[in-house]
Amino acid sequence: MDKKFLVQAQDLSFERSGRIIFSSVNLYLEEKQIIFIKGKNGSGKTSLLRCLAGFTPITSGKILWYDNEVLPAFYSEEPLVAWLGHLDAIKGSLTVKDNLLFFAKIWSVKLNILNKCIKKLSFEKFMNFPASWLSAGEKRRLSLLRLSFCPAKVWILDEPSTFLDSDNREILINIMNTHLKNKGAIVCATHDDLKIPNALELTL
């Protein structure tokens, strides 16, 4: 029986300003699987993730999402991927509640699921404050919260443990494991050593 791949990347190479960032990269992501992308600074981890999502066009190779050549950055039906990059995407001028509600509404997430996630990350006390009052670590936790209720099956995480203290790291590992248990899949670029069982590694 053919294993169903959520994401397939075949022989990818990426060039920028004449510099070859990576070449001959292959990646096959299945359900309940996590792939860690490792490599030195500047080895192209972020570029690979952005290429997978479709923000940056690859120089050569093929990327398939659910056997389709349409990449998430071009797909306008529903979220194909939950993205956690370097940027938080939190609007400081809105309240924490408004920030979260907006995404919950456009992702068609039921309110009880949202509230469950808020409770899980103990964010209830922050709800009515303007998001600009949060510290960097708290903002990072907020984007983790948003990640946790995103209905997409695939997660792409770029250095998710930056700005997180040890407690929050535990939370991160917890939600990653929960997601994998719920038949999700993760591609994660990290320097950190996140202890998750049965992880595959890809080094650039």
């Binding site: 920028r16 300003s17 004449g18 510099r19």
Partner: protein, 218 residues
């Protein structure tokens, strides 16, 4: 080729064509002004087409062609504006007037200059060339305004006499040098475009080699 056409055109224009009964010898400026104006618009039109190619099909050469055409087009526009102004002084009594055609050609010049500035403000030339393509397409609306400006508005500038629906309205003796000059300018454009494109490609190759040698050393 360019040299031949331009010299032929100039010779014809200066010696063989009859002086216009109303304007005397000054009409000969037309032989530079009109082809320059034609080229100014034609270059932009070709840039527009190349930009469409660059954006829709991502053809690698298309946005380079568009980027390199811009300075040439800008020069032609400037020549057209300046020669037109010189011609206007003895015939209309004024160096400049803000009528529809002059204004829209001036806008074209500004768009060219904006394009050149935009493309060169990117550190990454590939991005710069693509940004130029996008800008070209927005400014493309200006072209029909220029062409039809003399028909839509009452303008000081004379209405179209060559490219009209019922055939050209000027004498063949004047047409010939005009066409010759136009062809001359056209070949000028092609030759300069090729030079520019080659320079651009060489620059990119050099940069690539430099970067690669640098990273190899590490």
């Amino acid at each position: 080729m360019t040299f031949i056409f331009i010299s032929l055109g100039l010779w014809y224009g200066l010696f063989n064509s009859p002086p216009d009964y109303q304007q005397g010898e000054t009409v000969r400026i037309m032989y530079v002004h009109v082809p320059a104006a034609w080229m100014a618009m034609m270059v932009y039109l070709s840039m527009t087409i190349m930009s469409i190619f660059a954006l829709v099909w991502r053809h690698p050469l298309a946005d380079i062609l568009s980027k390199c055409s811009a300075p040439i087009g800008a020069s032609f526009t400037l020549i057209a504006l300046v020669t037109g102004s010189i011609w206007g002084k003895p015939t209309w009594g004024t160096w400049w007037v803000w009528d529809a055609r002059l204004t829209s050609v001036f806008i074209l010049f500004l768009i060219y200059m904006g394009h050149i500035t935009l493309v060169r403000s990117f550190e990454d030339e590939y991005k710069g060339a693509r940004a130029g393509a996008i800008l070209t397409l927005i400014g493309a609306f200006n072209l029909p305004i220029i062409k039809f400006s003399v028909d839509w508005w009452n303008t000081l500038h004379q209405p179209a006499s060559v490219i009209k629906l019922d055939g050209p309205a000027i004498h063949i003796d004047m047409m010939i040098p005009l066409i010759l000059m136009a062809l001359g300018f056209l070949f000028f454009y092609f030759s300069f475009l090729l030079i520019n494109v080659q320079t651009e490609l060489n620059n990119r190759k050099l940069k690539k080699l430099f970067i690669q040698s640098f990273s190899k050393k590490n």
